[in-house]
Amino acid sequence: MTKITSKVYINVGRFGVSMAPFLFIALVILRLFLSTLHNSKTKKMAHPADVQLLNKALSGIGVDEKSLISILTKTHHEHKRFIRKGCSQFFIEDERQFERWDDSAIKNLKVEFKRFKDAVMLSLMHPWERDARLLKKALKKGPQLYGVIVEIACTRSSDELLGARKAYHSLFERSIEEDLATHVKGTERKLLVALVSAYRYEGPKVKEDTAKSEAKELLQAINNRDKRKPIEDEEVIRILTTRSKPHLREVYQQYKKISGKTITEGLEAEILLKETIECLCTPHTYFTKVFETALREDANEDDKKALTRLVSTQEAGNLKGISDKFAHKIEERVKGAYKDVLLGVLAKGQMSGQA
């Protein structure tokens, strides 16, 4: 045995000593060869793991800051080049032979990065200023955001809504009803102006026969909707914009009793009225719906913005149960610090809801 090993050793040693330089050179050549092979073969697929990571970090609601940091801290110039080549949804081949950011991707990124900042700002703002600014924005943007006006006017307490009106005076040197009445042209004007002007009684006292007769009036208006739109019916507006919330919830119940349906079932075509009733009578249903829409694959930017608005404006108690229902979806679709804010606020809701 010893004979053999020593023979090998001597052999190897002798072999190694004499072959070492050649081996070394061969290895270097091989390595170069392999890396060029690597280059030419994978112009589109370099570092697939990082490409995937970037795609994931920047797609969805919010951005995954941690992943981005891990990618960016690889200062390797070549590495970033490969990533650019691999992420065709963010970078496009320019005719002057370099990979440039896609403009629509830049726009999208602005929006996604802004989400956390908006959540922070909105959450820290005085509730009155918050609502006044939201109302102004909704008013400026137009009909597609009138639902936000309904949401604010109907889900705040009477004094909170009053506060928002005061803040509006401070911020914009006009009254909210003044601006609404000037800018809203169509049939929605009466409803919206009346909703923001309301100072509803908040006591529990409810007259059952009044609720019954008003349920009947609503039923009549809804049954006549082919002849006249309910939003143009004086009595509908009166009932929805002046009665107290406990009273309206009684009206909602009475309506179900006499017609077998809910008020909202009869108002499928009148979105604003439908949302008015939901916000006043069944706010939890409304919030659940907003969350659901925001977390869908085909959600648009206004839908997604609702998430920030809801978590920073609603008392966590109002969002009770929503975190359970949507926890999975949130994990899937929402990223980074923004996701943490969402989950954190919803968890608080769970806790305070159980308190």
């Binding site: 009053l162 009106r165 005061k166 005076h169 040197e173 006009r174 009254s175 009803e177 003044e178 009445a181 000037t182 009466k190 102006v193 009346a194 002007s197 309301a198 100072y199 509803r200 009684y201 908040e202 006591g203 006292k205 004086e234 009166r238 914009t241 002046t242 009665r243 107290s244």
Partner: protein, 314 residues
Amino acid sequence: MATIDVPNQVSFLEDAEALRKACQGWGTDEKAIISVLGHRNAAQRKQIRLAYEELYQEDLIKRLESELSGDFERAVYRWILDPADRDAVLANVAIRKSSPDHHVIIEISCTRSPEELLAVRRAYQARYKHSLEEDVAAHTKGDIRKLLVALVSAFRYDGEEINTRLANSEAETLHDAIKDKAFNHEEVIRILSTRSKMQLMATFNRYRDNQSTSITKNLPGASGDEFLLALRTAVRCLNDPKKYFEKVLRSSIKRTGTDEDALTRVIVTRAEKDLKEIKNLYYKRNSVPLDQAVAKDTSGDYKAFLLTLMGKED
């Protein structure tokens, strides 16, 4: 400026005692009541009520209600309430009439400041367990309802800024609406119920400049149309409240028989505000001092009380 005469030193305990004494025993000493309450402002009256309650475990207001009667009682009752509470009571009384008193509601919603109107709405809820706009809406219909609900729900911007371009265009809008008599009520209601008071006054001035006549002259006062009448009242209250109150006083006294409701309402609600200027206007217009006219048309304790509120020395 206020007309009531308030002494420098006031003791609420002494006042409460004096009122108690006035209500005790056989009959009531109305003069004593007038001499105390007629010379106290709203904050002091509130303290007196509290002192009375503490001393005698009784609500002073209820006591007075049971001791007094007639126009005098109604006047004292309104006087002793907090201003916001008082307006709430006045509004409720006006609403509940079988034919609601629109002009009282318009008067309250248009002559009070935005914060005062908010206080009225709160007081109304506390007292009647309904919102003011709820009750107004439930007791009215059509365009009147739209106008009144909008006016009582308004929370006008209280700044001084005026947009002259807007004043001009809205003066035109108002002119077109009135001239056409087809009356685009929506636009008129919008302007009157949402714009700030300063902005509205600028608009009314522009109207007068453009049309060479004031807007109220073009809103007929004697038509049977209740909406037009309401509009006129609103415009007059918003444009020049003192002038409006002078007219109400003048009408209430001139009538065969006096409209005590209106007389009491104006004197009680303005005595701590601008009754002095209203008196001056009255004199300019009628060449007779208001005190004299009131004295001629009223009698007894009611008269004595009103004159005290108007600043007459005891």
